[in-house]
Amino acid sequence: MRNPSFGAITLVAAALAVLALSLRPAAGQARFDVKTPKLPMSKTWVAYKATLPPYSPPRTPNGVPDLQGVWGGPGGAGGDDLEDHGYVDVTTPPQESYVSDPPDGRIPYTPWALTQRAAHRAGLSRGWPGETGERLYADPASYCFTMIGPRGGAGEIIQQPGSVIMVTGRVHRVIPTDGRPHVSERAKFWRGNPRGRWDGDTLVVEVTGLNGKHWLDSVGNFYSENTRMVERFRMADANTIDYELTVEDPTIYTRPWKMNYPMRRAGTGGTDNTTGKYAWRNTVTVNSDPYAREVWENTCNEGVGHTIAELHKLGFKWFSGVMPPR
């Protein structure tokens, strides 16, 4: 078996990161006009995958499902608003919800948490209801912080005995599948502490130890340091991973809820995300440029200083996570 080692060519230098990270959009986002048709997400995917025949994935020499290859992100407009929404602004076109459960596509916040999200939105200075002109928090992605799930982005999956490795141009996750216990909840991480296991054809990753300091999207949807996530990776067909993310946190949600979307194998089209960041979406480029499958330096910290200084001057506060009052 040959490990595909195709990456994405990203000619993003430090200077470009500054340009891309203006105050509102996250890095590398496209601009959408008001006539953009509604982008498909969870609802369309759930309906489509119900029509697919059963698929038995190839296996690695160790006998586990072979998920290796380079995979696209969730598609859509880059995690701008997880819930179903109409046109918001040039960075946020209309789109179906990422949320597959509850079926209404809404995150089941407690009343306190819903008020908290409204405060996040009103403090963005983006024209959300309740805005007073006072700035609260900027989207933590503006500072280059990384997260798992829809904001985790495209990347390569490499499997080794005892671990599954996920690599983007900027950051890596190593998911042990050797049965070791989690690091204690005393230790918190931006991307949590992942532990994987194989359940039939599905890679199940339990993520604990999240620091609760990131957002789930750029419009204030949030989780906390009590949140546990469970990711499920399953091949729906030879070129598609069916990705499901369960989010659980009794302190801010009334019930566990799920996101569900497909990740397409690089170069096979389908539900590419619309950022146009990765040249492997363009097969002409991939076939004509010997470097097209390489991943080149994709910095963020090194070019974001100006953005950070501007956000600080504008009066945005530091988001260190929020919890309901006791």
Binding site: V171, H172, G305
Partner: protein, 266 residues
């Protein structure tokens, strides 16, 4: 008879000189028997796993005494001293005086090569047929060493971690790295380079849990000649060893955000 004797003496002398020379060269190059490491499916030495240095080179690549919070340590520079050009030596000394603010590590930038290797954080090597990937705990950084037949892309390119092209020489992984910026340093003591830096790294397994890491640095704008550093790399033995997180910028911002003029970016 006498001519025979003279010839014998001459030939013996020549043979002795040649033998002595050969023996000397052998003594210099042979060392202990090379370690025959396990192989990957592709037949190359298997360097995979979690590695880390065990030295004080992150603070200073040359011999140094202790300071507050800094352990004393042996340098790793062959010959003891980095061969700086005179102006570069002055700049190094200025860097040292102002290291608290000038060191790129204080801004959480990618530290460049070879500095990334001897930061006091573990890293993991992952081998595939056409590339070797190094995952660093520090900044969650990822580095690809391509062995796909492509040469270095045409410059000028300035990357913090450079462009790495790898090949095997026997048991040794040789990595040629170019296309650097002048914004990274070699340590916390102001040792530096320019964007003209050319690095050759050599990773040689010396036992099941050890590698020899050798680096040649060449920079015609800063050094008078190429120079070399070397140090062992150790495989982490902790049963629960894994790469965790060091998201430098988030800790820096969290600390600085609420202090007036505390942000390093203003």
């Amino acid at each position: 008879m006498r001519r025979w004797l003279v010839t014998f003496v001459l030939v013996s002398t020549v043979l002795a000189v040649v033998w002595f020379g050969v023996a000397t060269v052998a003594a210099q190059t042979a060392g202990p028997a090379p370690y025959n490491s396990p192989r990957t499916r592709d037949g190359h030495p298997d360097l995979q796993g979690i590695w880390q240095v065990l030295n004080t080179v992150a603070w200073d690549v040359e011999d140094h005494n202790a300071r507050l919070g800094v352990p004393a340590g042996h340098g790793v520079v062959e010959g003891g001293t980095i061969p700086y050009q005179p102006a570069a030596l002055a700049k190094k000394q200025e860097n040292f005086q102002n290291r608290a603010t000038l060191d790129p590590e204080a801004k959480c930038f990618l530290p460049g090569i070879p500095r990334m290797t001897y930061m006091p954080y573990p890293f993991r090597i992952v081998q595939q047929r056409e590339k070797i990937t190094i995952l660093y705990e520090y900044l969650g950084a990822v580095r690809f060493l391509y062995m796909n037949g492509n040469p270095h892309p045409k410059g000028p390119i300035e990357w913090f971690m450079g462009d790495s092209r790898a090949r095997w020489e026997g048991n040794t992984l040789v990595v040629d790295v170019v296309h650097f910026t002048d914004q990274t340093w070699l340590d916390r003591s102001g040792n530096f380079h320019s964007e003209a830096l050319h690095v050759v790294e050599r990773y040689t397994p010396t036992g099941p849990n050890h590698m020899l890491y050798e680096v040649t640095l060449e920079d015609p704008k800063v050094f008078t000649r190429p120079w070399k550093m070397s140090m062992p790399l150790y495989r982490r033995q902790d049963a629960n060893a894994e790469l965790l997180e060091y998201e430098c910028l988030s800790y820096l911002l969290e600390d600085a955000w609420t202090r007036p003029n505390g942000l390093p970016f203003n």
